[in-house]
Protein backbone atom coordinates (compact mmCIF):
# COMPACT_ATOMS: atom_id res chain seq x y z
CA UNK A 1 0.00 0.00 0.00
CA UNK A 2 1.47 3.31 -1.09
CA UNK A 3 -0.46 6.49 -0.52
CA UNK A 4 -0.05 10.24 -0.22
CA UNK A 5 -3.18 11.58 1.37
CA UNK A 6 -4.65 14.83 2.68
CA UNK A 7 -6.87 12.81 5.04
CA UNK A 8 -6.24 12.01 8.69
CA UNK A 9 -4.20 8.80 8.91
CA UNK A 10 -5.52 5.86 10.92
CA UNK A 11 -2.59 3.52 11.61
CA UNK A 12 -4.72 0.47 12.36
CA UNK A 13 -5.78 -0.58 8.83
CA UNK A 14 -2.28 0.17 7.54
CA UNK A 15 -0.60 -2.11 10.07
CA UNK A 16 -3.33 -4.71 9.57
CA UNK A 17 -2.69 -4.62 5.83
CA UNK A 18 0.82 -6.00 6.23
CA UNK A 19 -0.09 -8.85 8.58
CA UNK A 20 -0.02 -12.31 7.05
CA UNK A 21 0.31 -15.83 8.46
CA UNK A 22 3.57 -16.13 6.49
CA UNK A 23 5.14 -13.40 8.65
CA UNK A 24 6.47 -13.83 12.14
CA UNK A 25 7.35 -10.17 12.52
CA UNK A 26 5.69 -6.83 11.84
CA UNK A 27 7.63 -3.64 12.45
CA UNK A 28 5.95 -0.30 12.10
CA UNK A 29 6.89 3.31 12.50
CA UNK A 30 4.55 6.25 13.05
CA UNK A 31 5.84 9.76 12.62
CA UNK A 32 3.74 12.18 14.65
CA UNK A 33 3.66 15.94 15.03
CA UNK A 34 5.56 16.80 18.20
CA UNK A 35 3.92 19.57 20.18
CA UNK A 36 6.98 20.55 22.20
CA UNK A 37 10.54 20.59 20.88
CA UNK A 38 12.94 22.00 23.45
CA UNK A 39 11.51 25.40 24.38
CA UNK A 40 9.33 25.66 21.31
CA UNK A 41 5.64 24.84 21.08
CA UNK A 42 4.39 23.76 17.66
CA UNK A 43 0.83 24.72 16.81
CA UNK A 44 0.85 22.64 13.63
CA UNK A 45 2.83 21.55 10.61
CA UNK A 46 2.10 22.06 6.95
CA UNK A 47 3.30 19.22 4.68
CA UNK A 48 3.76 19.88 0.99
CA UNK A 49 4.51 17.20 -1.62
CA UNK A 50 5.51 16.99 -5.25
CA UNK A 51 2.84 14.31 -5.59
CA UNK A 52 3.82 12.53 -8.82
CA UNK A 53 7.46 12.25 -7.90
CA UNK A 54 6.74 11.40 -4.26
CA UNK A 55 4.50 8.47 -5.30
CA UNK A 56 7.15 7.26 -7.74
CA UNK A 57 9.90 7.47 -5.11
CA UNK A 58 7.79 5.64 -2.54
CA UNK A 59 7.23 2.83 -5.05
CA UNK A 60 10.96 2.71 -5.80
CA UNK A 61 11.75 2.55 -2.08
CA UNK A 62 9.39 -0.38 -1.64
CA UNK A 63 10.95 -2.20 -4.61
CA UNK A 64 14.47 -1.55 -3.34
CA UNK A 65 13.57 -2.74 0.16
CA UNK A 66 12.00 -5.90 -1.28
CA UNK A 67 15.26 -6.61 -3.13
CA UNK A 68 17.24 -6.31 0.11
CA UNK A 69 14.99 -8.03 2.66
CA UNK A 70 12.45 -10.89 2.47
CA UNK A 71 9.50 -8.56 2.81
CA UNK A 72 6.07 -10.14 2.67
CA UNK A 73 3.99 -6.96 2.77
CA UNK A 74 4.88 -3.29 3.04
CA UNK A 75 2.91 -0.09 3.47
CA UNK A 76 4.11 3.49 3.06
CA UNK A 77 1.57 6.23 3.74
CA UNK A 78 2.34 9.94 4.02
CA UNK A 79 -0.03 12.72 4.91
CA UNK A 80 0.05 16.17 3.30
CA UNK A 81 -1.58 19.45 4.25
CA UNK A 82 -2.11 20.97 7.67
CA UNK A 83 -1.54 18.70 10.68
CA UNK A 84 -2.25 19.38 14.33
CA UNK A 85 0.07 18.34 17.16
CA UNK A 86 -0.20 14.61 17.88
CA UNK A 87 -1.45 13.73 14.39
CA UNK A 88 0.30 11.12 12.28
CA UNK A 89 2.34 12.42 9.35
CA UNK A 90 3.78 9.14 8.09
CA UNK A 91 3.38 5.40 8.61
CA UNK A 92 5.79 2.70 7.48
CA UNK A 93 4.83 -0.91 8.18
CA UNK A 94 6.67 -4.03 7.07
CA UNK A 95 6.15 -7.74 7.62
CA UNK A 96 8.93 -10.31 7.28
CA UNK A 97 9.45 -13.89 8.40
CA UNK A 98 11.82 -12.79 11.21
CA UNK A 99 12.18 -9.74 13.40
CA UNK A 100 15.70 -8.64 12.50
CA UNK A 101 14.71 -8.28 8.85
CA UNK A 102 11.51 -6.45 9.76
CA UNK A 103 13.34 -3.89 11.91
CA UNK A 104 16.08 -3.31 9.36
CA UNK A 105 13.68 -2.91 6.46
CA UNK A 106 11.37 -0.57 8.37
CA UNK A 107 14.26 1.55 9.58
CA UNK A 108 15.80 1.76 6.12
CA UNK A 109 12.46 2.69 4.56
CA UNK A 110 11.73 5.59 6.90
CA UNK A 111 15.34 6.84 6.87
CA UNK A 112 15.52 6.75 3.08
CA UNK A 113 12.02 8.17 2.69
CA UNK A 114 13.11 11.20 4.70
CA UNK A 115 16.10 11.70 2.39
CA UNK A 116 14.70 11.17 -1.07
CA UNK A 117 10.92 11.54 -1.15
CA UNK A 118 9.98 15.10 -2.15
CA UNK A 119 7.77 16.02 0.80
CA UNK A 120 8.52 19.11 2.84
CA UNK A 121 7.28 20.32 6.17
CA UNK A 122 6.98 23.72 7.67
CA UNK A 123 5.84 25.08 11.01
CA UNK A 124 2.45 26.73 10.90
CA UNK A 125 2.96 30.30 12.03
CA UNK A 126 1.21 31.44 15.14
CA UNK A 127 -0.93 34.30 13.84
CA UNK A 128 -3.39 34.19 16.72
CA UNK A 129 -1.80 37.22 18.34
CA UNK A 130 -2.65 39.28 15.28
CA UNK A 131 -6.08 37.87 14.62
CA UNK A 132 -7.31 37.84 18.17
CA UNK A 133 -6.76 41.48 19.06
CA UNK A 134 -9.68 42.70 21.14
CA UNK A 135 -12.23 44.82 19.24
CA UNK A 136 -11.32 48.48 19.10
CA UNK A 137 -7.52 48.06 19.21
Amino acid sequence: MIEITPDRIDATPIIESVRTPLAGAVCSFLGTVREITGETRTIGLEYEAYPVMAAKKLAELEAEARSRWPILEAALVHRVGRLDPGEISVVVAVSCPHRQEAFEACRWLIDTLKEVVPIWKKDVEDVASFVDLPPGT
Binding site: L45, V52, M53, K114, E115, P118, K121, K122
Partner: protein, 91 residues
Amino acid sequence: MKATILLFASARETVGAPSLTVELDENSTVGGLRSALARACPALIPLLPFLRIAIDSEYARNDQQIIPHDAELAVIPPVSGGSSLEIPAPP
Protein backbone atom coordinates in the same frame (compact mmCIF):
# COMPACT_ATOMS: atom_id res chain seq x y z
CA MET B 1 13.46 26.30 -26.11
CA LYS B 2 11.21 27.47 -23.30
CA ALA B 3 11.12 25.26 -20.21
CA THR B 4 8.85 25.46 -17.21
CA ILE B 5 10.30 24.36 -13.88
CA LEU B 6 8.09 23.38 -10.97
CA LEU B 7 9.05 24.93 -7.65
CA PHE B 8 8.39 23.55 -4.17
CA ALA B 9 8.78 24.56 -0.55
CA SER B 10 11.58 27.09 0.04
CA ALA B 11 12.24 27.49 -3.69
CA ARG B 12 8.55 28.27 -4.31
CA GLU B 13 8.50 30.73 -1.42
CA THR B 14 11.69 32.45 -2.58
CA VAL B 15 10.38 32.90 -6.11
CA GLY B 16 6.84 33.62 -4.95
CA ALA B 17 5.30 31.33 -7.58
CA PRO B 18 4.77 27.58 -8.06
CA SER B 19 6.78 27.53 -11.30
CA LEU B 20 9.19 29.52 -13.39
CA THR B 21 9.57 29.56 -17.18
CA VAL B 22 13.07 30.06 -18.53
CA GLU B 23 14.79 30.05 -21.91
CA LEU B 24 17.11 27.06 -22.40
CA ASP B 25 19.49 26.21 -25.23
CA GLU B 26 18.76 23.03 -27.17
CA ASN B 27 20.88 20.29 -25.54
CA SER B 28 21.11 22.30 -22.36
CA THR B 29 22.56 20.41 -19.41
CA VAL B 30 21.36 20.49 -15.82
CA GLY B 31 24.15 23.01 -15.24
CA GLY B 32 22.66 25.20 -17.97
CA LEU B 33 19.27 24.95 -16.27
CA ARG B 34 20.77 26.06 -12.95
CA SER B 35 22.33 29.10 -14.68
CA ALA B 36 19.00 29.92 -16.28
CA LEU B 37 17.27 29.72 -12.88
CA ALA B 38 19.87 32.07 -11.38
CA ARG B 39 19.33 34.58 -14.19
CA ALA B 40 15.53 34.35 -13.97
CA CYS B 41 15.47 34.81 -10.19
CA PRO B 42 18.69 36.00 -8.55
CA ALA B 43 17.13 35.44 -5.11
CA LEU B 44 17.55 31.70 -5.80
CA ILE B 45 21.33 31.99 -6.10
CA PRO B 46 22.16 31.40 -2.42
CA LEU B 47 19.86 28.37 -2.37
CA LEU B 48 21.17 26.76 -5.57
CA PRO B 49 23.89 24.63 -3.94
CA PHE B 50 21.18 22.94 -1.86
CA LEU B 51 18.63 22.44 -4.60
CA ARG B 52 18.38 19.22 -6.56
CA ILE B 53 16.88 19.17 -10.05
CA ALA B 54 14.39 16.47 -10.97
CA ILE B 55 13.78 15.45 -14.57
CA ASP B 56 10.57 13.47 -15.02
CA SER B 57 10.46 12.65 -11.29
CA GLU B 58 14.04 11.42 -11.21
CA TYR B 59 16.91 13.24 -9.52
CA ALA B 60 19.26 14.50 -12.23
CA ARG B 61 22.40 12.51 -11.74
CA ASN B 62 24.94 15.18 -12.60
CA ASP B 63 25.50 18.48 -14.29
CA GLN B 64 26.34 16.84 -17.60
CA GLN B 65 22.88 15.36 -18.09
CA ILE B 66 21.06 16.84 -21.07
CA ILE B 67 17.50 18.07 -20.50
CA PRO B 68 15.09 16.17 -22.78
CA HIS B 69 12.34 18.00 -24.66
CA ASP B 70 8.94 17.98 -22.90
CA ALA B 71 10.43 16.62 -19.68
CA GLU B 72 8.77 17.66 -16.44
CA LEU B 73 11.37 19.68 -14.59
CA ALA B 74 11.34 20.49 -10.90
CA VAL B 75 13.46 22.14 -8.26
CA ILE B 76 13.74 19.95 -5.14
CA PRO B 77 14.81 21.70 -1.94
CA PRO B 78 16.22 19.55 0.87
CA VAL B 79 13.44 17.23 2.01
CA SER B 80 12.15 17.14 5.54
CA GLY B 81 14.63 14.79 7.15
CA GLY B 82 13.50 15.88 10.54
CA SER B 83 13.88 19.63 10.75
CA SER B 84 11.88 22.08 8.69
CA LEU B 85 12.47 23.99 5.53
CA GLU B 86 15.58 25.78 6.63
CA ILE B 87 18.40 25.81 4.14
CA PRO B 88 21.57 24.63 5.85
CA ALA B 89 24.41 27.13 6.07
CA PRO B 90 27.03 26.59 3.34
CA PRO B 91 29.85 24.35 4.56
